[in-house]
Symmetry: C2
């Protein structure tokens, strides 16, 4: 099997960084924000619209009160267009050869054709991790910020897939980064992925 | 942190074998059935009683219809005695030093003092794995046998702990053995565990 690796992750768990290190160790491309840009240009959507509607931006109201098929007409086509454009890019990248793709329901889009990793950590560890970065959120509001983003990722994932977000059975490897540094985690995933048949 | 590693597992996923290889790689003791024997002698319970009431033997009826506090008096004391005796042994083994412990809610018993691994696999892979062993069940009945044992393990775990069986958030590493051989899995866990702080 070609080693296409997808990474789902809780916000602040270090999933993106593990993906990056893993791609370096394996000598294969890594896709994250580049993917959005590519989706935007390939799908003929303006980068601003993609940014507005990508992954964590799906409105809570539209999902909770309207449901999948009842979302107000002015909003649904854009979120779906962005998702479809990104899915098309993900499939096209996967066909080109081994790579690491972070987020964007790539595990679902590539069902059966990828090694699917989920990265998570205890809330306190994620707060500390994000505190040490400059992400433009004051420390006192970080916890709520993290919970909000996870809530949106979960909604987005469960809106576009048939799976529950972060449910073990849908992932080949679920790794908690609370007590293991990024390199230790990337090494564990590396040993798993290189033995995957 | 002392490297106490607990392993929860779906039946037929190879969790016991991974635990054994991991213990060898780390050069630390491995506890599985020995634990039951030790619990039996330490707790003053006869080995036959322990065998009858250990892990997967808790009665479905007693849990479903009676609930934790209402289990018929003649049964509850024995299952609880076995669980308490095993928990005592688990804590005592963990105090002695690094080791690998398979099953028996050890992750819950040692809360916060262990690295908790959960091993799972797709059903078909587990059927094939058990088919290749002689476990005294005819091939046509293996699927039901596997599902029955998992159901009992789940009931036992959820009866004695506050957690859901196999829920990612309660484990540091969840590993699917469907596409990776035992040594590849043990290697991945080894790299994770040796970097655990």
């Amino acid at each position: 099997m070609e080693k296409i690796i997808t990474i789902g992750r809780e916000f602040g768990s270090g999933g993106r960084e593990i993906g990056l290190r893993l791609a370096e160790k394996l000598g294969i491309p890594f896709y994250d924000k580049e993917l959005i840009t590519k989706a935007a240009s390939d799908g003929g959507l303006s980068p601003n619209i993609v940014k507005e509607y990508e992954e964590s931006r799906i409105s809570g109201l539209s999902v909770i009160h309207a449901g999948r098929n009842l979302i107000a007409h002015y909003q649904q086509p854009l979120t779906d267009q962005v998702f479809l454009a990104q899915s098309k890019v993900i499939r096209s990248l996967a066909e080109k050869g081994p790579c690491v793709i972070v987020g964007r329901c790539a595990d679902y889009v590539l069902q059966g054709k990828s090694i699917n990793i989920f990265v998570h950590a205890e809330l306190q560890a994620r707060i500390e991790r994000k505190s040490s970065m400059d992400i433009g959120v004051v420390t006192g509001k970080l916890e709520q910020h993290i919970l909000d983003i996870d809530k949106k990722r979960k909604k987005y994932y469960e809106y576009y897939t048939d799976f529950k977000w972060g449910e073990m059975a849908h992932f080949h490897l679920c790794i908690d980064t609370t007590h293991v540094d990024m390199d230790g985690c990337a090494n564990a995933v590396f040993h798993y992925a290189t033995n995957f048949r």
